[in-house]
């Protein structure tokens, strides 16, 4: 069955460092992969979408890589800030309407 794995344990880092979050998937052939941010009690907020023919995508301090051979995406936040503290969700997408989310990784950035 299809499976999406994200680090279930919280990632704690110091302000100013780079945070790297991992998303692994199995039994999927995604045409694209999305990353969302979710704050407690709020809905997911779209951050980045990367397509299967793109190796890397950047937006301000965010960078996403997508390796279809390893079946993995890495999500980086450079110069992290306490305001980046949230849960980050990945969602590999096939040719379908629905988003299937991973369980998410909680990021905590300490001053």
């Amino acid at each position: 069955s299809q499976k999406i794995e994200q680090n279930s344990e919280a990632l704690n880092i110091q302000e100013g460092k780079t945070a790297t979050l991992t998303c692994n998937y199995t039994n999927y052939s995604p045409a694209y992969l999305q990353w969302y941010r979710q704050d407690p009690g709020r809905g997911p907020v779209f951050l980045l979408l990367i397509r299967e023919n793109e190796k890397e995508k950047r937006k301000e301090r965010l960078k996403v890589t997508f390796d279809t051979t390893l079946k993995q995406s890495l999500f980086h936040i450079t110069a992290s800030q306490p305001a980046d503290s949230a849960t980050y969700l990945c969602a590999p997408g096939e040719d379908t309407d629905k988003l299937i989310f991973g369980t998410g990784t909680r990021l905590q950035v300490f001053p």
Binding site: Q34, Y36, G41, G43, V45, F46, D97, K98, F101, T103
Partner: protein, 113 residues
């Protein structure tokens, strides 16, 4: 920036009662969705809606659930006879022509007593 709005933010209902959750998607969007998130668990897809009909639904979306777009702006989720296990956050989302990305509202917290 345009956003998806959901009402109410919190709904408390007795088991067995009907409940309607309301959403106003982003105005020029064409695709509409409902997801739910049980406390501490992941966000799960319920249903997608396009051109006034359901395009896809999950196993969770059984006969107790229905969706409707009663006018040009609202999108509703109805649960006919609520059960304790329906307690969750329900998120509405919408997307434009390319289907992705989806834009989410801040949810309705549904508590069944």
């Amino acid at each position: 920036e345009p956003e998806v709005t959901q009402t109410p933010s919190h709904q408390v209902t007795q088991m067995g009662q009907e409940v309607i959750l309301r959403c106003v998607p982003i105005s020029n969007h064409l695709y509409f969705y409902w997801y739910r998130q049980i406390l501490g668990q992941k966000v799960e897809f319920l249903v997608s809606f396009y051109n006034n009909e359901i395009s896809e639904k999950s196993e969770i979306f059984d006969d107790q659930f229905s969706v409707e777009r009663p006018d040009g702006s609202n999108f509703t989720l109805k649960i006919r006879s609520t059960k304790l296990e329906d307690s969750a956050m329900y998120f509405c989302a919408s997307s434009g022509e390319g289907k992705q990305p989806q834009h989410f509202g801040d949810g309705t917290r549904l508590s069944i007593l």
